[in-house]
Point group: C2
């Protein structure tokens, strides 16, 4: 049975797992949310790399055929270290998302939004320019978007949501982008509000892009699949919101120390 390991700093990576399950319904999955150390997006590349290695070792001990790094920040800074450490393939969200954006853009003016760590790493900017030399990439960190999504304040008609989205996105609108990468697992929950500030702009969700890449590389699998969830903080809070992110019920998660 084909088994996919997925980790994220917390619950947001379940949006990536959701896309993976849609694309590969027959694969077993192990999901690890590092909820005791979340968020990664405000922390240094060194610290995020250390946490990512611990997460990956935990999943590798359970026997996985591929590791999907669902966290954009970890994908942006820790892939080289993870690939050195692991013997199985490691797929991050940055390259698949960058590839889709580079192909979707007509004008070559592409926006990227993400955490401070993701934007500061320059990983999306470099990946887009590798795929499409000459592309103009405008990147912007949007720290308020994650807590807004976790509060459930996502309605585009909400004046607070609209005010925050306008402040972050108006420089991107002014730069005339035609494509925007949602470079953080929480941002798809705010897609309607983001789209309302950027009419006509194509929004790229890396989750679907990475799922397509896993499917293209490993095939679809078949048969009933088993899904297990692990978290580093107490499971209750994770379980309370996990279903909303995964789009399927999540009834159990094990508390582990990695």
């Amino acid at each position: 049975m084909f088994r996919i390991g997925i980790f994220d700093s917390g619950v947001g990576g379940l949006t990536v797992q959701r896309a993976v399950l849609d694309a590969l319904p027959g694969a077993d999955t192990l999901y690890l949310g590092d909820t005791a150390r979340v968020p990664y997006g405000t922390k240094s590349a060194e610290t995020v790399t250390q946490y990512s290695l611990r997460n990956a070792r935990f999943l590798a001990r359970h026997g996985i055929d591929v590791l999907v790094v669902a966290c954009n920040t970890a994908s942006a800074v820790a892939l080289p270290a993870l690939r050195t450490e692991l013997t199985v393939p490691v797929i991050g969200v940055v390259d698949p998302g960058a590839r889709v954006a580079a192909r979707a853009s007509r004008t070559g003016r592409i926006g990227v939004i993400g955490t401070q760590g993701t934007v500061a790493s320059g990983a999306y900017q470099a990946a887009i320019r590798r795929e499409r030399p000459g592309a103009e990439v405008i990147a912007r960190a949007c720290p308020l978007f994650v807590p807004l999504a976790e509060e459930g304040w996502t309605d585009p008609a909400d004046e607070v949501v609209r005010g925050v989205a306008r402040r972050y996105l108006s420089p991107l609108a002014g730069a005339g982008i035609d494509t925007l990468v949602l470079g953080c697992t929480h941002y798809p929950l705010l897609a309607a509000a983001i789209g309302a500030e950027l009419p006509g702009v194509t929004l790229v969700d890396s989750a679907a892009a990475v799922a397509a890449e896993v499917r293209a590389t490993f095939g679809g699998g078949a048969g009933p699949a088993d899904h297990r969830f692990f978290v580093t903080d107490a499971p209750e809070k994770f379980l309370a919101v996990a279903g909303r992110f995964l789009g399927r019920p999540v009834t159990a998660a094990d508390h582990v120390d990695v």
Copy 2:
């Protein structure tokens, strides 16, 4: 020389250290910000207690005469474990803040705002009622306030700041409180915006209350003092903002693993 150990989940506890330095200019201080694991306010009591014990052991190894727990969430959930572990006195921010609020209120209707962990613990509510039986305490978690303060979006005339403050605080205004505890180290930076939504309400900052308690217990000290700073994530980001929170220049911090 009298030496005070102070820890917080991150940089916010420097507002407590600032008050301590104002009250006890002659004391040496060791400050530890657990910036690799920040925030504590969204995490379980068990995880916050484990992190607090590690922080306290690190400071205790450096020889301190008293431990000040600057983090409201840690003060709310971890004091019993810390007092069992340490041989020196342990002072949190909850009891001093609750005491000042209980005395400042004329009507006995007192509001408390803090992180999800602080509010869920019920620690402020219990401490206020111990001090003033019959007090009516209305508590509310305000998760967006920390990222607003860290973005520097604190101007009460800012429509986003006003919108967020109104949403969180209007139930407290409607309940007719006359006193509000700012139960998180970041919230004093938003005091003007908070006050604008609650005209006539007395705002209680636990930092000043805990500093007064340390001074009353240990005296003022004298002579030139030495101040050292430790962080668990890379120091650069801490150093970039520490001066704003401390009100004095912070030029060096050591990266440590606790």
